[in-house]
Amino acid sequence: MNSISMLPTVLVDITGSAANMLFSFLALWYAFRLTRLKPDNFLWGYLFYVTLAITAFAISRAVGHIAKEFLFIVGRGDLWRAIAPYSGGINTLCMISVSAVMIFYHKGVQAYEAIEQEAAKLKQSKIRLTRAARELKELNLNLEDKVEERAAELSKSEKKFRHLFTASKDMVFFTDSNQAILDMNASGSEMLGYALPESTRLTLRHIFRHEGDVAVYAKMLENDGYIRDLESEFKKKDGSTIYVLISATALYDEQGLMIGSEGIAKDLTRLKTMMEQLVSSEKMATVGQMAAGIAHEINTPLGIILGYAQLMMDDFAKDSETYQNLEVIERQTQASRKIVADLLKYSRQSGSAREPINLNEIINDAVAITEHSLNLNHVKIGLQLAGDLPALVGDPEKMRQVVVNMINNAYHAMEAQGGGELILRTRYPAGADKVIAEFQDSGHGIPESIKARIFDPFFTTKPVGKGTGLGLSVSYGIIREHGGTIEIESPVQGLGGMTTPGTLFRLILPVAVESAAIKE
């Protein structure tokens, strides 16, 4: 082979130049679009200038090559030789430009990275600032609402606890470290008989009945920080005693030092009385059984003694000494039989009727019998009888005996002071199937120490020979037989916690269904 055709190089030159122009324009187009999409991005801006320089070089070169091939094809090689130095010079310039732009790249990227980092920091700062500003704005906007909302919540909570404090039926109190009462609710003041302002001038020493209990209270709080169910006695303003169950908690300051206590005291007086009455009734039930047995055994020999005594009386002259002795035997035997009969009544061994009873009528009858002698002894009778009293079912004779017993007891209580006032009261509380009869005297009252014993058989405070001690116990037995109870108040509790000297017996009798039917 002596020669090679240069035609392939010509064809490659022409098509390659055209292709170069096409690709360089496309590359420049995308570089341009990038700068439009992200005008602030340095990297894309830099790539655009690199691509622009490369495209300029490619165009310059391609145009030169195509022009050269064209001029040679048309036979104007001389013309090409004239413009070739210009084309080559421009190509060289473009190539140097491309190189220069590329070399600037490194420093540009470094600057760009530094700027990007700072920009990222600034962006983060801006985000944080924006967030803080937004939160601040929201806080400002909502501050008033939040304050109002919080104040309303606090007020609601305060009301709730204030209501608990004031409405509690138990005593709630706060003390300082010296046991002085700082605050006490109305129930506490009422329980102790003090006016509300007075209660804050008290200390625990004033209200505890026993000095030692104050020390126990303080010691338990100091040791445990709380007190649970401490049974104690409080002293009321009038000197009387109430039984209380105390729960308390110590209060501490921020340094953990005890600065006082808060306590709740529950009045157990009524519960304690009821418990004592329950014990008493159990005891009396036992005594009743015993009494019934004794009465039954004694009744027969007494009947025989009485019979024989009366038979013997027929055999002696009335003015004889023997006859008079027999009269004494007869009289004492009769008295013994009465005692036995009373015992039997107390123990419910005697028979009893069941018929409708109008308690008001029975009271009126009893008053009619006793009024004369009571008036003679300066006892004034006050009747406060309810008009709508339903009928009871029971034995009217026994009930009359109870009423007479109550009146006699009241009279005896006022006898020493030369008279007084006896109030007989009946009432029918709405909704309660009970009828209440109260006998209130203005006598000397019943000492606390014997309250629990007054219903015991043969217990009496009267002088020997004046009473058998069976009156109240028989009455108790009869009332229990009728399904009722007897309560005692001495001194008498008035409205507002005030007390009146004297005694009040309260008979509480159930209204049976059949009674209601009878009434209708």
Binding site: M1, N2, S3, I4, S5, M6, L7, P8, T9, V10, V12, D13, T15, G16, S17, A19, N20, F23, S24, L26, A27, Y30, A31, R33, L34, L37, K38, W44, L47, T51, I54, A58, F72, I73, G75, P85, G88, G89, N91, T92, M95, I96, V98, S99, A100, M102, I103, Y105, H106, V109
Partner: protein, 159 residues
């Protein structure tokens, strides 16, 4: 007359003598014919250095993604083209003008034997577009990839 005035007069005289009698001052250097070729060849070397540096910096910056891979291919191919062009220009310089014979038409131009390394190099380097065109194609692909990825990212941010 002060010293200042004497100095100013001496400077003026020297400048006047230089203008009136230039002699062999050689103020302007004359550039001979080969200088254009040398500058062009040096521009190729400069181009190789610049694009090599560009390639190295892309890799150093740990840029990832398809666009940057295309750009690296562009750098490699463009470096190869520069070397081919450099060699091609040298082969052209050393080629005897009589070795190219144009018959009736330019298309019938032939490279005559006997064939030397220089002639082969001349012929092969004349086909430099076979390297240059793929290089430009990868440049186009690279920028297109950048554009598409930015469009995608912008669209996601927009959502």
């Amino acid at each position: 007359m002060t010293n200042r005035k004497i100095n100013s007069s001496l400077v003026f005289l020297l400048l006047l003598m230089a203008v009136i009698t230039p002699g062999e001052a050689l103020a302007l250097q004359v550039h001979g014919e080969p200088e254009g070729l040398y500058v062009h060849q040096m521009a190729h070397l400069h181009y190789i250095f610049a694009i090599g540096y560009f390639f190295w910096d892309i890799r150093r910056s740990s840029f990832t993604g398809r666009g940057w891979r295309y750009l690296q291919l562009f750098c490699i191919l463009m470096t190869c083209w520069n070397m081919i062009a450099f060699v091609g220009h040298l082969a052209g310089v050393y080629l005897d003008p009589q070795a190219l014979l144009q018959a009736d038409h330019y298309f019938q131009t032939r490279l005559l034997g006997p064939f030397t390394l220089n002639k082969y190099l001349y012929f092969i380097t004349k086909l430099d577009h076979l390297i240059y065109v793929p290089a430009m194609f990868f440049l186009f692909l690279g920028l297109r990839s950048f554009y598409l990825s930015v469009v995608k990212t912008t669209g996601e941010e927009g959502r």
